[in-house]
């Protein structure tokens, strides 16, 4: 029985080591509807975000109707000072409600307070998919004018990480919104209990049952 459990744990480790993930974090908005529209030359910024992990790609969905979307100039700025931390471009030709992305340079460090901005560098209007926010009217701004909600931006890494290497991060994330003293340690303990404790208990129970 322990051999099966051990083989299972090894198989899981292999699966997790080959399961590559590019998501760095997402800040909350969902794909509900186009929330903000900008005209050529205008810029929309999603303000007051926290870089929960290092990233160098931003992905979003554009409302373009039946025509290909315009190019967008993307920039990540430090909240408050407005200092540009990274730049990138969303290529022209985006289709409506399909994910497009901009590779940023340089990568943005974890922990920064950031605003993410997109300037319409084409000749057509474009809208940004997102969702209404709990804190209405949200954190999107066209210039100084509040947008209709939050833009759905997904922050990614250009270099994927395996799910196995993300386990410590996953446990940190899972420990949020839990009562003290629950923390990442709790999930490490649970992992040990499920991967080793349960098989050992079952093996002990089987041994005793066989004797009985």
């Amino acid at each position: 029985m322990l051999v099966i459990a051990l083989a299972g744990a090894a198989a899981l480790a292999i699966v997790a080591a080959t399961d590559e993930r590019t998501l760095a974090f997402n800040p909350g908005a969902r794909v509900v509807a186009p929330m903000v529209a900008v005209a050529p030359g205008e810029e929309v910024c999603q303000r007051g975000l926290e870089a929960a992990a290092r990233f160098d790609v931003v992905a979003l969905r554009l409302g373009t109707g039946t025509t290909p979307g315009p190019p967008l100039a993307a920039s990540v700025r430090a909240t408050g000072s407005g200092r540009v931390l990274a730049r990138g471009t969303v290529a022209a030709g985006a289709r409506d409600n399909r994910e497009v992305s901009a590779r940023l340079a340089p990568p943005v460090a974890e922990g920064s307070a950031i605003d993410v901005c997109f300037r319409d560098a084409g000749a057509r209007d474009v809208a940004f998919y997102g969702s209404p926010t709990y804190e209405s009217p949200g954190h999107s701004f066209v210039g100084s004018r509040p947008g209709g909600g939050d833009i759905r931006i997904v922050f990614r890494r250009s270099r994927p990480r395996s799910a196995l290497s993300l386990v410590p991060d996953m446990f940190e994330r899972a420990s949020l919104f839990r009562p003290a003293p629950v923390g990442a340690w709790t999930f490490w303990a649970l992992l040990a209990a499920v991967a080793a404790g349960i098989p050992l208990l079952l093996a002990g129970a089987l041994r005793r049952a066989t004797r009985t």
């Binding site: 629950v182 349960i198 089987l206 009985t212």
Partner: protein, 441 residues
């Protein structure tokens, strides 16, 4: 987060803070208390259910925002509306009000954590009930008992549901206890305590969820056998029968209000024909002349519901294993069922006809009831409401089937049990990994 947990939490909050069931809430107004809505918005749990690529809040600033919001409990004038869950009877929610109150010094997540632990303890009751049931049928063969009970205690979907705030956890426990006592009553000399226990467990099941009503025919069957065979003509038999009838009647009346609206009993020939077509379409390819139910044509409902959803579809059913895993699980389950049938046919496992009748009645009534409710929704032009987890109250019977299958092994029974135990432990590990990967990676 398990299905409808926010609604179930709202019910408990209303009971614990106001001492009464929550209102349904107007259709155009938000559900839940201000505290619960704030928590859901900042932890981003609602979006997780609606968008498969979405994640809950990962960043510590979201937790800090929650603390800064300072929402606590049910403020004066605030309403914890819980939608359609308000039709449920309050037994499970009243039990959850205890951990809610015990953690009332903490914030919502502290209360929710303790409430989930309480549901988790109910899973232990379910497993213990299955262990006792299988022990009743396997005598002193602890190996079979352990293997069968482990299949219940480590069933991925059942452990997932019982780890959240959901009355299904109490339903599973009540079914396991009722099945154990019912089988004990048809195999041993009865006692007043056992009869009371069976009635009590049945009433608890009914008051936990309307699906508990499916236990009533089996319970009535057991009580009838007890009255006929053991207490014939005695005053105690009459008293036992009257007590059973009264208890079940009270429970039935209590839940009727909640059930009748969703699944009216209509035995008109046209309705029954429609039900027959629905059942055919659910399990078999639709014939050209049959009525088309759109909700049944989007996939293979029998496979989706009874295999994928019953074995393990987590979150709001969107967190699943790769498709091939379900093929393996279904093949293994089928193999065990065939082996159990072989053991029965060859007399290697002898539960007795009365026990088989109890199992058959329970399973048939539950499956028929689930389908009837689903048929009402589908026939009305709506989507399916049937879910694989509704079948999980029958897990103790599956545990018995596993024990029966292993009884075919006369020499290497321990090795067979070891494979079952190891397999279930590995399945549990993978299930937790799939869920963790969905929400936190």
């Amino acid at each position: 987060m398990v299905p409808d947990e926010a609604e179930h939490f709202a019910y408990v909050q209303s009971l614990a803070e106001n001492g009464k069931r929550p209102p349904r809430g107007p259709p155009d107004a938000p559900l839940f208390s201000t505290e619960e809505r704030t928590a859901g918005a900042l932890a981003r749990t609602g979006g997780v259910l609606a968008d498969t690529a979405y994640k809950p809040a990962w960043e510590p600033s979201a937790e800090r925002a929650w603390r800064a919001a300072g929402a606590r409990g049910l403020a004066p004038g605030d309403i914890a509306a819980s939608g359609s869950q308000t039709e449920h009877t309050p037994l499970y929610y009243a039990s959850e009000a205890v951990p809610y109150a015990a953690a009332s010094g903490g914030d919502l997540f502290g209360r929710l954590f303790l409430m989930r632990l309480w549901s988790g303890l109910l899973m232990l009751v379910t497993t213990a009930g299955a262990w006792l049931l299988i022990g009743e049928l396997t005598g002193k063969d602890r190996v079979l008992q352990l293997a069968g009970a482990a299949c219940v205690g480590l069933q991925p979907m059942a452990t997932f549901i019982s780890a959240g705030v959901n009355p299904d956890a109490l339903l599973y426990a009540a079914y396991a206890i009722a099945l154990w006592i019912g089988v004990r009553l048809v195999r041993r000399p009865p006692s007043a305590g056992a009869v009371a226990g069976l009635i009590g467990a049945t009433v608890v099941a009914i008051l936990a969820k309307p699906a508990g009503l499916a236990l009533v025919p089996a319970t009535a069957f057991v009580l009838a056998l007890v009255a006929r065979d053991r207490l014939r003509g005695s005053r105690r038999a009459a008293l036992a029968g009257a007590a059973a009838g009264a208890g079940l009647l009270v429970a039935g009346v209590a839940v009727n209000r909640g059930v009748s609206g969703r699944a009216p009993v209509d035995l008109q020939p046209a309705t029954l024909r429609g039900f027959g077509t629905y059942l055919w379409d659910f399990y078999l390819p639709r014939l050209p002349f049959q009525h088309r139910y759109p909700a049944l044509s989007i996939d293979n409902p029998g496979w989706t519901v009874w295999v994928k959803h019953a074995w393990g579809s987590f979150g709001l059913l969107e967190v699943q294993f790769p498709g091939g895993v379900y093929v393996v699980l279904a093949a293994v389950a089928l193999g065990f069922l065939v082996a159990a049938g072989t053991a029965l046919a060859k007399g290697r496992f002898r539960p007795g006809r009365a026990t088989l009748a109890v199992f058959g009645l329970t399973a048939a009534c539950l499956v028929a009831g689930i389908h009837w409710v689903d048929f009402q929704a589908v026939n009305g032009g709506g989507g399916r409401v049937i879910q694989g987890r509704y079948l999980l109250p029958l897990m103790p019977i599956v545990g018995v089937a596993v024990a029966a299958a292993l009884s075919n092994l006369t020499r290497r029974r321990e090795a067979g049990a070891a494979v079952v135990l190891g397999g279930m432990a590995v399945l549990q590990l993978f299930s937790l990994a799939v869920v963790a990967g969905r929400y936190f990676a």
